[in-house]
Symmetry: C2
Subunit: 137 residues, 2 copies
Amino acid sequence: MNRIDAILQQKSVRITPMRQLVLKHFLQEDAVLGLNELEETFQKSDRITIYRTLKTFEEKGIIHSIQNGVSEVKYALCKEHCEEQHHIDRHPHFHCLVCGSIECLESVLLPPTILPQGYSASEIKMNIKGRCKKCQG
Amino acid sequence: MNRIDAILQQKSVRITPMRQLVLKHFLQEDAVLGLNELEETFQKSDRITIYRTLKTFEEKGIIHSIQNGVSEVKYALCKEHCEEQHHIDRHPHFHCLVCGSIECLESVLLPPTILPQGYSASEIKMNIKGRCKKCQG
DNA sequence: CAATTCATGCAATGGTATTGCATTGTTAGC
DNA sequence: GCTAACAATGCAATACCATTGCATGAATTG
Ligand SMILES: [Mn+2]
Ligand SMILES: [Mn+2]
Ligand SMILES: [Zn+2]
Ligand SMILES: [Zn+2]
């Protein structure tokens, strides 16, 4: 069994052509992708099916969502060991205001945050806007 | 001059009935509010005018936006000294998954984040989901 | 007061997110 | 293998939310 199918199976996601296609693309590109880009890439495929594939992948812990607050929701592969309904993505997301690129800062660990008494967190997301490495100077 | 007008003037926002109304409401409620809620509150007012009031307030450093990724964009008063085009809100936002409330955790300071070499940040936002104080137990 | 700039109201549009439903494909019990 | 149950897909429709255009009215400035 190839890597694509292995991941799908391990995450309890039924193996279908569409899902193989999308997961393969994420693995190959290792990029942050949104519905529109994927629709462009897979022109023959139905937009809604891609949409539901993304939702399923997110739900099952294969990808995680990134909201930049400007355009549509983006997604990237979970590198850590995420499970169904339980993501443990402890890295911030960077949105370059110059070139528009969005990336996972995998190397940066989210610093521990002390919540006020009585609060408990199940998800913490950090979004950073600024200039990326390529757009500096 | 009253407090409302003083703030508007200090932030270089022309004083109008709509703006007085919205700012007064934010000050009174001290809450996180979205366009829909404000439209409900000011039923006689035009939705678009409220919309543009929020955009203006944000631009001028009177309120800051909060994206929970679920519903519409919410807004809250800037407590720190924000200026036009330059917000310095260094606190996370909490979204309770039980009661749905959204609040500014003013007491929590955003921990310093070390970016990878070559990156520079102009805005950092942290969004936390979980159970709020009221919904614990 | 005249010229200009700004705010408002209403209509229209753009874009993204989400659902309904009929059809097709897949799985699992018999 | 056959059939019932279940899941995925494709297409259409809808629901929201965000944003813009334009005509009108109000305020400001010199
Ligand atoms: Mn990421
Ligand atoms: Mn806040
Ligand atoms: Zn860049
Ligand atoms: Zn709560």
